[in-house]
């Protein structure tokens, strides 16, 4: 009577139950009336990270390629399943008697070996191993573990036959099952680079001959490492008797003794081979608890005999041998926590033994904690010497290898093509395929099976009567017979090999087709999931090798082994027919994919035809073409890797484009640079040797006219250092130049650095610039400086540390200027690297790899100056200072016309002034009415034109600034106030003391420039509009203009802009809208409207939308400026059309 599935499940652990469910599913799919062991095997083989498959992989004979043997296994399982009679589909095919019996058997097995059961329980209940012995009967219903489940199924004769047909011996598999699977898994990972240092992995081939004494007891997992270490102790001259200490010590001891008794002493050195373990644990226990001395005495006698023999054999010259005396848990010597006197006699006995047979006797034992051992050694103070003990900490319990089991499934979650990822055993079963998440669909599977059948039909030498029952088994039977006889194995196996290769080819083909057609969405979906970066790395080479294997091996085998086989053209025909058939269906089915697949499929069918027509039809043509097909299929359809690669590629492209952009940017600037100072730059190239100083100075001066002293000292330092290095050229001497630019004027520093790069190395591209403070700060959006600072941390570094980035850049450009801004904010790694670099002339990256920096110029900058005196004395009231300018936004600038009707006091004021018109522009688009109010209310002070006025305004305006500026100060302060800043200052000082030359920079005279600009603007304004109309310039605008002037490479760019752009716009404004003294013209920044984002919809008060100048000037050459101006004019006209409406508004009383 078959058992219902639910009843059977009750006897199983969760894992086993899952396997059973799979088996039931297999049976259901095949419409079988019952679930048998065969179904279970099929299911077990198909589970991802299948224990059974792993075991098979390890148990298989080395003679044949594993893939083929697995293929054969799958086939034989499949065939056996085919032979079962099918009936109408049952919801859950009940468990057959044979399978149920297997479950019962495994239950019994497990009960017989309570240690393993309790070891398992140990982890859930935290039970101590020591008190577990007695309670095995209490468990009424034992849950069968997967391992025991599999072991029992393997007992089933039909199953062992199936395995036998595939060349496996089920006893081998069983053996493999109870051994740690790590050995296999790790072999994939321990590559040549790190050869296994300890050869403690147990070779199954040896133990296979010993004989299979199933069932083993537990402790198969995790003894490798512990055993190895025990072995290490035992090899030693003194202190060679290991006493294992630790909670898991008993387990380790048991594992060790068991592996020794089983004769697996691979972990022991040659000297120790052939050790015999004698365990007196039980006897000791009885002796201690019951005073039963008899058995112990017997055992001791027996041991003495053996020892005598050993020593005798040593005398005779035969090495090896010896006795390991296992006294078990040290706790066993205690009776109710006390060491009785009788124990002393035992200890003495053992001590005596050790004295006599020191060379051939090892004691071994375990103790849970050191405390127990201490009690023991308190009683026997000399025990450590007497017994030659060595305390060996044991830290790991079993089952740390579960990780290895789940490995493949884990990897699977990372690999889009779970099924395709080569699992440890490197194969995919056709049967299992059905159960896996990504596999062939029914249709493809059908086709595939047809083709397999066709191949097998051809391959079999026996005439075919019945496709199902006769054809397949005939071949398999032959194979089985041959294997069992052990004669002519190679030949049959090769036949099998070829067939399997064919089958494999077919399977792959259909897999691929199916995957392409029916699983495309799945692929894409999976690609979106975060796939680890290692996927292509892991996956791709595997594929490559696989391909190579199949293409290189198979043809040669075929050609050499089967020259006399009868020719057959049947195979290609069938597959052809199938393919065309399939092809047509394809075209109907999936239109978008059809084309692609079409090509592939055509390639498929095409090749065999060609080959057939080209050569005599012989048997080895088909396999060869199969391989070709495989090749093409793989080349064109290895989608997962392609897809991943393309993702990767895209990313790289993105990165590339970013860097390209960056390059373009620098090029752009360098172009400008070249234009403006081409003659000097090029000319200096030749003059270096003579007039180094002068030429450098000249170029730098041109670039940064305002930093006289700094330029002077830089050029002096560089030329001097170069000369001194030049004189000792050839001798290994330091050739790197270290400069530090201290103080303000960031742009000046940068400009000098890039000019140096150009002068010294020929191009600005040889400037490696890193802002060391930018790692933490996100760059401000829309900042003017943003455009030149494409070197945001993320973009540039992408997970690299700064020092790695620098090292990589240096490697690329071995002659260059390294420009490190804000060195005071460098992180520790960079500091360390810099320290070392300045001392040794070699820059280490974060892994300690060094790269020479000879011939480099390293410039570090810091805003901090020693003593801070210079900064402070410059910090007298300033309207425009560097931090503020650095915060400049590249917003559009507008000319706003307002009226000053209400405010009497204002009416008498004429001239130009710089003021703060903040809200005005912000609300410009929002509310017209409000604007006037705010404009008026925000005008807090007035000044006159002229220099005198500006001076006054400077002091007055300061009152206005705080609101905005404190923010900025705070922000700047933040980055400085790191928790370890005091340390950083110390470091900086030390670092700076080693630098070749420190150069102090003056602050850029923004106020002076501002005055100049204001003067210029007002003269423009007066020339076009008249002196009676007041002009107000927003501070924000001023900041922008200043920033632009600061940044612009070309002298006079701002003046040009003022004249050509601003002047004309004033003129137009005057023309279109007759400005009187009643109106106020304001130059405001259009907050939030970024340049380049054209905003033609600005209506209302907005008369002009000027192209914002800073970036404008920064980026464009003069010619381009002109064109842009034209553009701008066109737009302006558009805007002016809307003026009539504005006029009405303006003329309101």
């Amino acid at each position: 009577m078959p058992t219902p599935v639910t009843a059977a499940r009750q006897c199983l652990t969760e894992e086993s139950a899952r396997a059973l469910d799979e088996a039931v599913a297999v049976a259901r799919r095949r419409s079988h009336a019952q679930t048998t062991s065969l179904h279970a095997v099929s299911a077990l083989l198909s589970i991802p990270s299948s224990t059974l498959r792993d075991a098979c992989a390890r148990a298989r004979s080395i003679a044949y390629p594993s893939r083929l043997q697995f293929r054969a296994l799958e086939l034989s399982v499949g065939v056996s399943l085919d032979r079962l009679p099918s009936s109408k589909t049952v919801e859950d095919p009940p468990i057959s008697n044979s399978l149920m019996a297997a479950i019962k058997r495994s239950q019994a097995n497990q009960r017989r070996h309570p240690e393993s059961y309790h070891l398992q329980q140990l982890h859930s209940n935290n039970n101590n191993i020591n008190n577990a012995t007695g309670c095995s009967q209490t468990a009424a219903l034992l849950k069968v573990e997967l391992k025991y489940f599999i072991l029992s199924i393997l007992d089933d004769p039909i199953v062992s036959r199936v395995f036998g047909e595939a060349g496996f011996r089920s006893c081998d598999i069983k053996l493999a099952l109870v051994h740690p699977p790590v050995t296999h898994v790790s072999s994939r990972f321990s590559r040549t680079r790190c050869p296994p240092i300890f050869l403690c992995n147990l070779t199954d081939s040896v133990s296979g001959q010993v004989g299979f004494n199933f069932p083993f007891s537990c402790q198969e997992d995790g003894f490798d490492e512990n055993c190895r270490r025990i072995g290490e102790v035992m090899v030693k001259k003194s202190g060679k008797s290991p006493l294992l200490v630790g909670v898991c010590a008993m387990e380790a001891l048991r594992g060790f003794t068991e592996s020794l008794t089983r004769g697996k002493s691979g972990f022991l050195d040659g000297d120790l081979a052939g050790l015999i373990v004698i365990s007196i644990e039980k006897e000791v226990n009885e002796f201690v608890t019951e005073g039963n001395e008899e058995k112990l005495g017997l055992k001791m006698k027996e041991m003495k005999g053996i020892l005598e023999k050993c020593t005798a054999s040593v005398g005779g010259g035969g090495g090896g041998g010896g006795v390991v005396l296992n006294f078990g848990d040290l706790k066993g010597l205690f009776l109710e926590g006390v060491l009785s006197d009788s124990v002393s006699s035992l200890v003495l006995k053992l001590t005596g033994l050790m004295e006599v047979y020191r060379r051939k006797l090892w004691l071994i034992g375990a103790v849970e904690t050191v405390e127990i051992y201490r009690k023991f050694s308190d009683k026997f103070p000399n025990i450590e010497i007497d017994w030659d003990l060595h305390l060996l900490p044991i830290t790991s319990s079993k089952s740390s290898f579960d990780g290895a089991h789940s490995k493949s499934s884990l990897m699977k979650s990372f690999v889009p093509f779970g099924g395709f990822f080569p699992t440890p055993s490197d194969f995919r079963s056709p049967l299992s395929g059905r159960n896996q998440s990504i596999t062939r669909c029914n249709l493809c599977n059908e086709k595939y099976e047809q083709e397999v059948a066709a191949i097998l039909k051809v391959g079999s030498t026996v005439s075919v009567a019945d496709q199902h029952s006769e054809n397949l088994p005939s071949w398999l039977r032959m194979a089985a017979v041959d294997t069992s006889k052990g004669e002519d194995v190679a030949k049959t196996k090769d036949g099998e090999t070829m067939l399997s290769a064919k089958v494999l080819g077919l399977q792959k083909k259909w897999d691929d087709i199916c995957q392409r057609l029916h699983h495309m969405p799945a692929i894409y979906k999976l690609n979106l999931t975060p796939a680890g970066p290692q996927v292509p790395i892991v996956g791709a080479p595997q594929f490559a090798t696989e391909k190579k294997q199949s293409s290189s091996e198979d043809p040669s085998i075929n050609e050499s082994r089967f020259p006399s086989q009868s020719p057959s053209t049947q195979i290609p025909r069938t597959s052809e027919a199938e393919n065309t058939n399939f092809q047509s269906r394809l075209l109907v089915d999936v239109s978008s994919l059809a084309q692609q697949t079409d090509k592939v499929v055509r390639g498929f069918t095409h090749q065999p035809q060609q080959n057939l027509s080209g050569r005599n039809p012989s048997l080895f043509v088909p396999p060869v073409t199969t391989d070709l097909k495989l090749g093409t299929m793989y080349a064109s359809t290895s989608q997962e890797s392609n897809n991943l690669k393309s993702l990767d590629h895209k990313e790289r492209l993105q990165r590339g484009s970013i860097s390209a952009e960056f390059d373009a940017n620098t090029k752009n600037t360098s172009y400008q640079f070249a234009q403006s100072s081409s003659c000097s730059g090029l000319a200096t190239g030749e003059q270096f040797d003579q007039g180094d100083y002068k030429s450098i100075r000249k170029v730098l001066d041109e670039k940064v006219g305002w930093q006289d002293e700094a330029v002077n000292s830089v050029s002096q330092a560089v030329s001097q250092l170069r000369r001194s290095y030049g004189s000792c050229r050839g001798i290994s001497c330091k050739g790197d130049i270290w400069l530090t630019f201290l103080g303000p004027d960031r742009v000046g520093k940068r400009r000098i650095a890039s000019a140096l790069a150009e002068v010294l190395f020929g191009s600005q591209e040889y400037l490696i610039s890193v802002d060391l403070s930018s790692q933490d700060k996100g760059s401000q959006s829309n900042s003017i400086f943003e455009c030149q600072e494409l070197n945001g941390y993320d973009v540039k570094f992408r997970g690299k540390t700064v020092s790695d980035f620098i090292a990589a850049e240096v490697r690329k450009k071995p002659h260059s200027v390294i420009f490190l801004e804000n060195v005071d904010e460098a992180d520790y790694y960079v500091r360390h690297s810099l320290d070392q670099a300045i001392r040794t002339g070699k820059f280490p990256d974060s892994h300690g790899r060094e790269i020479g920096i000879n011939n480099m110029v390293l410039i570090t900058t810091s805003t901090i100056t020693k003593g801070n005196t210079t900064v402070f004395f410059e910090k007298k009231p300033m309207k425009f200072y560097e931090e503020r300018i650095l915060g400049a936004k590249s917003w559009q600038i507008q000319i706003v016309v307002g009226s000053i009707s209400d405010d009497v006091s204002r009416s008498n004021v004429t001239g130009t002034r710089v003021t703060k018109i903040k809200e005005a522009s912000a609300s410009a688009f929002v509310n017209k009415r409000k604007l006037i109010d705010t404009v008026e209310s925000s005008e807090l002070e007035k000044t006159d034109t002229g220099e005198r006025v500006c001076k006054a305004s400077r002091s007055c305006l300061d009152l206005n600034l705080p609101v905005e500026d404190t923010d900025e100060d705070l922000k700047l302060g933040e980055s400085d106030s790191e928790s370890l800043s005091e340390n950083s200052e110390g470091w900086l000082e030390e670092f700076l003391s080693q630098v070749d030359k420190k150069i102090l920079f003056k602050p850029f005279d923004f106020d002076g420039l501002a005055n100049k600009i204001v003067k210029e603007v007002s003269s423009q304004f007066q020339r076009t509009v008249g002196s009676e109309v007041p002009l107000e310039i927003d501070q924000e605008v001023m900041v922008q203009i200043l920033a632009a002037a600061w940044l612009s490479e070309r002298k006079g760019a701002v003046e040009d802009w003022l004249e050509k752009v601003l002047g004309r716009s004033f003129a137009e404004a005057q023309q279109k809208y007759h400005l009187t003294s009643q109106s106020v013209v304001q130059l405001v920044a259009c907050e939030g409207v970024v340049v380049n984002e054209q905003a033609p919809e600005l209506t209302g008060y907005l008369l002009f939308s000027l192209p914002a100048l800073p970036r404008f000037i920064y980026n464009l050459t003069f010619l381009e400026l002109k064109i842009a101006f034209k553009d701008w004019k066109g737009k302006m006209l558009l805007i002016l059309c809307k003026l009539s409406w504005c006029d009405q508004l303006m003329n309101r009383p």
């Binding site: 982890h123 859930s124 935290n126 101590n128 790590v182 898994v185 790790s186 072999s187 990972f189 321990s190 680079r193 790190c194 296994p196 240092i197 992995n201 995790g222 490798d224 490492e225 512990n226 270490r229 200490v245 630790g246 909670v247 898991c248 849970e368 904690t369 050191v370 201490r374 305390l391 900490p393 044991i394 830290t395 790991s396 319990s397 079993k398 089952s399 740390s400 290898f401 579960d402 990780g403 290895a404 789940s406 490995k407 499934s409 979650s413 990372f414 999931t529 975060p530 290692q534 997970g799 992180d827 520790y828 790694y829 360390h832 974060s846 892994h847 300690g848 928790s979 370890l980 340390n983």
Partner: protein
């Protein structure tokens, strides 16, 4: 072998002092975890920094699944590094996983270590009859399966938990190094850690130890520190940091540094 090992594990020696200090990072980080700590000690110590073989910064090929099944293999690595560098005595600072390694190393070679500073250390992470390690077997299995299912998600969930303190940069940094680890290695190491049980052997430690523990640590309950002190064989002190999280060297270097300095000077 020595040099290969030093290179493989990115061993670095920095600092100019006489005495030698070994900084060993824990699970899920690499030596960069010490970057906020070690500069403070470079004037006084020669500092040895290295990566555990399981760290993301080490070539995963070096991770032999067969070898690194117990902590002892890591101990071998540590001792090999020290031998290769010719160290004959050093102070050892180990975080979490490396604290376990340090304990074992000091048992094997007590003469090598002058002091052990154990940050976030635990002899056993799983609960037992009369021991509270902080984790239940079932819990751990859940964690493992979560790691298997979606490593990245797990990392993103685990990192803030482990860091504890609300320091986004540290969470990011820890997530980075954690995610750098190959997931199978990470899981494997995790299992190794949770399978390890040092309780029985703590008594074998003879080296003076300092246990540094934060006020709240998801991985290590406060009772564990007490357990360690009671069972460690050497002279042992406990330092409680007034912060949270399992990674004080990342999240609160300013707090940890003086404690380390004090502990080292004793």
């Amino acid at each position: 072998m020595g040099n290969v090992l030093l290179e493989a594990l990115n061993v670095r020696v920095v600092g100019s002092g006489e005495k030698i200090l070994v900084l060993a990072h824990g699970f899920g980080t690499d030596q960069s975890a010490w970057q906020r700590i070690f500069p403070l000690f470079t004037p006084y110590y020669r500092i040895i920094l290295f990566d555990l073989v399981c760290a993301g910064s080490v070539n995963p090929d070096y991770f032999d699944f067969r070898r690194y099944t117990t902590l002892d293999a890591y101990v071998d690595d540590l001792l090999n590094i020290l031998d290769a560098l010719g160290v004959n005595r050093c102070a050892y600072v180990g975080h979490s996983f490396s604290a376990m390694v340090g304990i074992l190393a000091s048992i094997r070679r007590p003469e090598l270590f002058s002091k052990l500073i154990l940050i976030g250390a635990s002899p056993r992470f799983l609960n037992d009859k009369d021991y509270h390690g902080g984790f239940d077997q079932g819990e751990i299995e859940k964690v493992f399966s979560a790691m298997e299912a979606n490593y990245e998600a797990w990392v993103n969930g685990f990192a803030p938990l482990a860091v504890g303190a609300d320091v986004p940069t540290v969470v990011r940094e820890f997530s980075r190094t954690l995610f750098n680890m190959r997931p199978d290695i990470s899981l494997f190491v995790c299992r190794t850690v949770f399978n390890s049980d040092l309780r029985g052997i703590l008594g074998l430690v003879r080296v003076p130890c300092c246990i540094v523990q934060t006020a709240k640590d998801v991985s290590v309950p406060a009772s564990v520190a007490e357990y360690l002190r009671n069972h460690l064989g050497g002279r042992t002190t406990i330092e409680i940091l007034r912060t949270e999280g399992h990674l004080p060297h990342l999240s609160a270097p300013a707090l940890l540094a003086p404690v380390l300095r004090r502990a080292l000077s004793r």
